[in-house]
Amino acid sequence: MSTDHTDADAAHAHGAPRPDQDDTITYYRAMEIAVRELLIDKGILTAGDVRRQVESMDARGPKGGAAMVARAWVDPAFKQRMLRDGSAAARELGLEIGPLRLIVVENTPEVHNVIVCTLCSCYPRMLLGLPPDWYKSRNYRSRTVREPRAVLAEFGTTIPADMRICVHDSTADMRYLVLPLRPQGTEHLSEAELANMVTRDSMIGVAVIEASRANRVSLAERNCSIGFNFRG
């Protein structure tokens, strides 16, 4: 009767059961398990504490960074404060950033900024959530410093030949956020609507925010007065 039973029968019919999908236990994975189990055995943490922390890290997204960008677009004085001291600006918006030392770099019609960490994968997790896998890849890390235009083109971002590129290698204690250019045709949008347009990749600098996206967002907002949205 149950679908489980049917699946098991089907697996039998095809021969040996499939192997587990678990990854191999690497050195560092074994180390993590050992340390975690010791901390739990000694009563320093509970398994629930660990699970809750993992859940909270997984739940983080680029909303904090997007809120900073949208505020900077509508409030020139805030933008100046943010470019002077990114961490203070984040705290001003009530964002929880811990000891993060944030530098915000501004895209202009003359200069495009892009962030990379060649030595590891430093990333402003408190503002953008967990980094995408490609950000941690050897390919992105080694090539972005050497041929940024080619890497950006692979993301579908073509930087005009007469526009300068500034690559920021996050080698030590600072973390970086790109302030993207505000797309044209967004003058009618509210701060919350602007924040909805700001993507993670635009704040890493591998993408720009297109005006067409602005129009799509505002159209969706107008046509959908009830329903799910990301404004919180």
Partner: protein
């Protein structure tokens, strides 16, 4: 704090063993101090569970891409900025 924004500096061409946060591709290269970032415990010590004190001044140093890569293909004014600790930097005047 030994350097100010606008100072011309060169990254030491040095290859010590152990944990180092100065990428290979900037070693021996000259650039401009973009800003001072404050002082931080030395990561070369922190990596081995030592305190890394006294804290070292950290700078953002800006390099021309064409100085880093002889075959760089982009705009001649494209730049790269990296964070470099003070003990890795020398004033360019001292080398001449």
């Amino acid at each position: 704090m030994r350097f100010r924004p606008g100072d011309r500096v060169r990254v030491r061409r040095s290859f010590p063993i152990g944990h180092v946060r100065t990428p290979y591709y900037v070693r021996g290269k000259a650039g401009l101090v973009e800003r001072a970032c404050g002082s931080f415990p030395n990561p070369e010590e922190l990596a081995y569970a030592r305190p890394g004190l006294p804290a070292l001044p950290l700078y953002r140093v800006q390099f021309l891409q064409r100085d880093l890569w002889p075959d760089y293909a982009g705009h001649p004014a494209d730049v790269l900025v990296a964070e470099i600790y003070q003990h890795w930097l020398e004033a360019v005047e001292n080398l001449q």
